[in-house]
């Protein structure tokens, strides 16, 4: 789950990373009486999860005297279609130079990887294209609680040594708060020291409970409902609803739809041991999606009981056509239940997908 800038900075601050004076507001009224410490100018930043926020008008520098007015304007905006619900007001830092630092997980090496660039303030992908030599990386074993000195030396190169402790603090933020990605861009040097001028933090969805986060804001309402059922669910834009068990099998079903010229409406992995009720909920959830014309249920496995699955499909009783491919225990009974209720059970994945794609094409004619 992505944290907003001010949330990331709250964590940075706890770890001693300087973030500059500032506070977050939910309405212009909250500014009253709190603007003393800003100096002449204030940075007004919309707290929206949007890439390229600055260019989209989500960050402006206002005269301190105008901050209320500018905040009101900002609250009225939508940044790339996202309404502004919170604004972070921050002191304007006397920036000398901008750097980039991020930490993520290197799946292949199974270590934390720290990426540093002496060219901050631009996206790292752009630096990678235009000036790859400005980028340095080090890999830190998950068993290390601190970054060894030699790594920090290698990472920083000629950049000021005073950045080192901030990067080490950020490493602790990352490791101790279940980070998937943490980024400071720009990390700035000023006459007052080093500051994190921006803050990005994506946390591990599997560890939200440890971070005291109850609701995963990255999910749509329907995705959240799917999650509470224990489904893995992704919304797409086609007409063929897909229910599978196992991520790989479900993905593969989606791929075959595409190969045969169809378009999937969603990805839904019901998980292991799908019983009557789970299958019923899954079918209903997918049927609810606008535009779904036909639904594929593709379940395979040792544990899955085909009769239960069949009963779940029948129980859901959705209006769309449901094409079923089942393999497991009690296959014959399952087929009987489905046939009796007017559902079609097909022997292979190839069959069920090709029939679904054909059905959609027919419907479109």
């Amino acid at each position: 789950m992505k944290l907003l800038e001010y949330e990331a900075k709250d964590i940075y601050r706890k770890y001693g990373i300087p973030v500059g004076f500032g506070f977050v507001i939910s309405s212009p009224d909250e500014i009253d009486g709190r603007i003393r410490d800003f100096g002449d100018e204030v940075v007004v930043k919309a707290q929206v999860d949007v890439g390229g926020r600055g260019k989209a008008g989500g960050v402006i520098i206002a005269k301190t005297a105008d901050v209320r007015e500018e905040s009101e304007k900002m609250f009225a905006k939508q940044i790339k279609g996202v309404p502004v619900e919170k604004i972070l007001l921050e002191e304007k830092l006397p920036i000398e130079k901008e750097y980039y630092v991020s930490i993520t997980i290197d799946r292949s090496r199974r270590e934390n990887v720290i990426i540093f660039s002496s060219e901050g303030g631009v996206e790292i992908e752009q630096t990678a294209r235009e000036n790859p030599d400005a980028i340095r990386k080090i890999w830190v074993s998950p068993l290390l609680h601190d970054i060894p000195s030699f790594m920090l030396r290698n990472l920083l190169g000629d950049a000021p040594k005073e950045l080192a402790p901030v990067i080490n603090d950020l490493y602790r933020v990352f490791c101790e708060n279940d980070g998937i990605l943490v980024e400071i861009n720009p990390l700035v040097t000023t006459s007052k020291g080093v500051f994190a001028a921006d803050g990005k933090f994506i946390v591990d969805d599997n560890a939200l409970y440890r971070l005291g986060i109850e609701v995963n804001r990255d999910l749509t309402e329907r995705e959240r409902r799917a999650e509470s059922c224990g489904f893995s669910y992704v919304e797409l834009s086609g007409q063929i609803g897909v229910i599978g068990n196992g991520a790989g099998l479900t993905m593969s079903t989606l791929d075959m739809i595409e190969i045969l010229g169809g378009k999937a409406a969603n990805f839904l992995d019901v998980g292991g041991g799908a019983g009557e009720d789970r299958v019923c909920s899954a079918v209903k959830l997918v049927a609810e999606m606008p535009g779904v014309k036909v639904i594929i249920v593709n379940l395979l496995g040792g544990i899955t009981r085909c009769d239960e699955v069949a009963r779940g499909i029948v129980k859901a009783g959705v209006s769309q056509q449901v094409l079923v491919r089942l393999a497991g225990t009690n296959e014959a009974e399952g087929r009987e239940i489905l046939n009796k209720n007017g559902y079609k059970m097909l022997p292979t994945m190839d069959d069920v997908v090709s029939e679904a794609v054909d059905a959609c094409k027919e419907a479109a004619l």
Partner: protein, 291 residues
């Protein structure tokens, strides 16, 4: 024999939960069928003294190890404690941990896998179906009846998709030396490379089926390892239709930062002269051609 054989004595951590108990029974059914030891002990803290399908349960791995000579452990504990359980197995000298558990926080997995390595312990998974060597040993939850003894090694990041492929192979008369599900999480212990190297050393495997998906670049590394070991290879990559930045079921199946999408994976595999199947049902056909 790749990760064990009939003589392997198995521990189950998280023995008293539904899943643990259910699969202790299935693993031991298979063990009886092939004449192996199977699961000889279980661990659940606080439940020491109980029995699950005739298997004694202990409070800790240490207590279990004092009574039984186990070398492999299968994990069914909840995600929150799975990292700790992997470390407990490694600390007590267990050589192989098969972590079925999903939803392990990735930092826990990373630390536990590194700690296991430091202690000479290999981890399969987490978030994996485990491994099956037909006629020898089942570690985990793979449906054994789909499989048939032979000389094709199957290694996969997926669970049911693996069963699909194994089923296709068996139906076409192609048996398997071993089937290994390495898990769908972004950080896993045994990678394609490790498994391919075990296939190269097992004296049984003639060809390898490698089933990958979006996210990361482990498939390419595994393909190179197979080539270097002189093993024939057919691959399949799930997720050509997966949109970027969306997690496709597996925590590890995500195209992030413009990296790890299926099409460029397939392109890189083909550049290595590796056969890539378009759909699972093509795999047996392609395998026949190269065998």
């Amino acid at each position: 024999m790749i990760y064990g054989d009939k003589k392997t004595k198995v521990l189950v951590q998280g023995a008293t939960g539904n899943q643990g108990a259910f699969h202790i029974n299935l693993m031991n059914e298979y063990a009886r069928e092939v004449g192996g030891f199977g699961v000889v002990a279980g661990v659940t803290p606080g439940k020491g003294g109980q029995e699950v399908h005739g298997v004694p349960v202990y409070n800790s791995v240490r207590e279990a190890m004092a009574e039984h000579d186990v070398t492999a452990s299968v994990l069914f504990v909840p995600g929150k404690v799975a990292g700790d359980s992997i470390m407990e197995a490694a600390y007590n000298g267990i050589e192989l941990v098969v972590a079925i558990t999903e939803h392990i926080p990735v930092h826990d997995a990373m630390k536990a896998i590194a700690y296991a390595k430091l202690n000479g312990c290999s981890v399969i998974g987490p978030n994996c179906p485990g491994t099956l060597t037909p006629g020898e040993l089942k570690l985990g939850i793979m449906p054994a009846h789909l499989s048939k003894k032979g000389n094709v090694g199957v290694v996969s990041r997926s669970g049911t998709l693996t069963y699909e492929v194994v089923n296709e192979l068996t139906m076409k008369g192609i048996g398997q030396s071993s089937v290994v599900g390495i898990g769908g999480d972004p950080v896993i212990g045994q990678t394609f490379v490790d498994v391919v190297n075990r296939f190269a050393d097992d004296g049984e495997t003639k060809a390898v089926v490698l089933i990958g998906e979006v996210g990361g670049n482990l498939e390419e590394e595994g393909a190179i390892a197979a080539r270097d070991a002189g093993l024939s290879l057919v691959t399949y990559i799930a997720g050509v239709s997966a949109p970027p930045e969306k997690r496709m079921g597996h925590a590890g199946a995500i195209i992030a930062g413009g990296e790890g999408d299926a099409k460029s994976k397939i392109k890189r595999l083909e550049a290595l002269d590796v056969t890539v199947a378009r759909k699972p049902s093509d795999i047996p056909v392609l395998l026949r051609e190269i065998l």
